[in-house]
């Protein structure tokens, strides 16, 4: 594809991920974020909705911030398949020339966004935590945590369009629905036929576990390297259960195999906003803290008084997790026995 004339490009698009006709929460978060960015650019927000029997969802997307919805409703796009979805989005984008394309950094979005961007020969910026518009240049300025400790990078895509970015679920705040909003619903003809698709989905198995439990938890107990080993995480889970909290982890213990990946909180994991966060042996590097900084109260337990987490904690305990947690559990049990005896 030849380079596009930057001045011809106008508009902000949001890819809407949906399952069984229900939008992914991250897509609604991005409609809200997109609305704010589009207002700065003085352009429209277009939602791109793909799937089978999904047209009923379109009006709702207007309420969440879209000015128009492009609807590709067809049996061939019932299951998400990279190439079919990428074909539709890239063809529409090549014709309509949006400036910005926002995609949720779910498994689907992280599979789709780079493919669409490569097709359009444009940049793709993964896992952004802040997005803004530089008014003078109309550039999207994407910020994300960068490699080393507490480094943030500002990344731009100056000469290619659309500027494609992905954002993890929970990073952007969900704005309120505005049910008075009006917009245009535009059906799109899906040209691809099943026999031309190179990939088949032969089975889909959904696990029963509630994947969103951690992200929506009221209390979260998080283990870092200071937990020491897999046994330490078992003890931490007991503590979390006693507290009525969900268990999370930083990335290193997960890499060590001490705890499963779905517990990961941070830039490449989940973003949490609980009322109470208790970090146990967590150092507080930005890769993790980017995913928990909006917690209402942060408690940190760490042997190292210089650990970065004490810069963001409300309460700190300098001590070994494997001594402090059992002490906390003893105290909680003692109090509960005391309550029962009364």
């Amino acid at each position: 594809m030849s380079p596009v004339n930057l001045r011809d490009c106008k508009g902000l698009w949001v890819f809407i991920e949906q399952k069984d006709g229900k939008p992914a929460r991250v897509s609604l978060e991005l409609l809200g974020t997109g609305r704010t960015l589009a207002d700065k650019l003085e352009v429209d927000v277009t939602a791109v909705l793909i799937g089978e029997d999904i047209s009923g969802l379109a009006q709702e997307l207007i309420y969440w911030g879209a000015d128009s919805v492009l609807i590709a409703d067809d049996p061939v796009v019932r299951d998400y398949r990279t190439e079919v979805y990428a074909d539709i989005i890239a063809e529409l984008a090549a014709g309509e020339k949006p400036e910005v394309l926002l995609i949720g950094a779910t498994w689907m979005g992280r599979d789709l966004a780079p493919r669409v961007a490569a097709r359009l020969y444009t940049g793709c910026i993964a896992d952004c935590t802040e997005l803004d518009i530089e008014i003078e240049t109309r550039l999207l300025v994407a910020t994300k945590p960068y490699f080393g400790r507490n480094l943030m990078a500002e990344i731009i895509c100056p000469f290619h369009r659309p500027q494609v970015v992905t954002v993890r679920p929970g990073v952007m705040e969900l704005k309120a629905e505005e049910r008075h909003r009006k917009g245009e619903l535009i059906p799109i003809e899906v040209k691809v036929r099943e026999e031309d698709v190179r990939v088949k989905v032969v089975e889909t198995v959904r696990s029963v576990s509630d994947a969103a439990a951690l992200e929506q938890a009221d209390k979260v107990v998080v283990g870092g390297m200071g937990v020491g080993d897999a046994e330490g995480f078992k003890a931490l889970r007991e503590f979390a259960n006693l507290l009525g909290a969900q268990l999370g982890a930083t990335s290193l213990p997960i890499d060590e195999g001490w705890i499963s990946e779905d517990c990961k909180i941070g830039q490449t994991g989940k973003t949490v906003r609980p009322r109470l966060y208790i970090g146990c042996g967590v150092s507080g590097a930005i890769q993790h803290s980017a995913g928990m900084i909006n917690s209402e109260m942060i408690v940190a337990i760490n042997t190292d008084p210089k650990a970065e987490i004490f810069q963001i904690a409300d309460y700190g305990i300098i001590g070994d997790v494997n001594e402090v947690i059992p002490a906390l559990m003893r105290e909680m049990r003692r109090l509960s026995v005391e309550r029962e005896e009364r």
Partner: protein, 262 residues
């Protein structure tokens, strides 16, 4: 069958410098290691060879010292190794990297499967695999925890958030491998000796690859890192609870109870 495994040398630590003039990482002086995720891709290729028979080529792009990483792949047992190394490749973003890799894959010519790790431990974008698939115009099968090859199709078990899918495609295809798929083998002493004594790492330059020079390296990269800065995340001042574990436990529980958090 012919398998290409794309691998990357990554910095061993996260303490890494940044060049404000070019907006790229300064990798010099930081010890490099084979990207952990790529070890699973290599292991997957070796197991496919054991099951179906295959010729495996490891492919990497990086400075000359990335040869170490390819030697490690050879030690694990791959058959051939190619390093794309040229100042023209320096500063490449994911798309520019995928472009150079796509040229190399076309130059290699024979490929049924291209395996990549799910993501690198430094960039963590998981973009190069999908972009490479697009530039080669072949299917991409991501997040694989199992690979089964039949006559003309390849089927993977694809790990999703909250479940999995079985996905099948014609090959050639790009597959990105999750760490759950396998336990990478440790190179044997014999394997290491062989990797250094009798196996070769070919080095290809930008000129060897041909293609459009304007799409390589920093100047072929649509994304630019404009600024890197330290962000001190700070909230209010921390209150340290002091004392022996039993004392601090009492203090913390009292505090949380008083705030209505228990």
């Amino acid at each position: 069958m012919d398998i290409i495994v794309c691998i990357k040398q990554v910095p061993e630590t996260t303490e890494i410098g940044w060049d404000p003039a070019t907006g790229t990482l300064i990798r010099g002086g930081v010890p490099g290691v084979l990207n952990p995720s790529d070890k699973h891709a290599l292991e997957a290729a070796l197991q496919l060879r054991e099951r179906y028979g295959a010729q495996i080529t490891a492919l990497s792009m990086g400075p000359l010292h990335a040869e170490e990483t390819l030697r490690e792949a050879l030690s694990m047992g791959v058959d051939g190794a190619i390093l794309l190394s040229d100042t023209a490749f320096a500063g490449a973003d994911t798309l520019s990297t995928a472009y150079a890799l796509s040229l190399a894959v076309r130059r290699i010519g024979r490929f049924d499967l291209i395996l990549c790790g799910k993501e690198s431990s430094d960039g963590m974008t998981a973009q190069v695999g999908p972009q490479l698939a697009e530039l080669l115009n072949i299917p991409q099968l991501t997040y694989a925890i199992e690979i089964v090859v039949t006559n003309k199709t390849v089927r993977i078990k694809q790990k999703l958030e909250g479940g999995f899918r079985g996905v099948e495609s014609l090959y050639p295809a790009v597959i990105t491998v999750e760490k759950e798929m396998n336990q990478p083998r440790i190179p044997t002493m014999e394997g290491i000796m062989e990797a250094y004594a009798s196996k070769e790492v070919q080095v290809w330059s930008a000129e060897d690859l041909g293609g459009k020079g304007g799409r390589l390296g920093l100047k072929g990269s649509p994304t630019q890192t404009r600024k890197v800065y330290t962000k001190e995340l700070r909230r209010g001042k921390v209150t340290i609870l002091e004392g022996e574990p039993d004392e601090v436990a009492v203090k913390l529980i009292q505090t949380l109870t008083a705030k209505g958090l228990l």
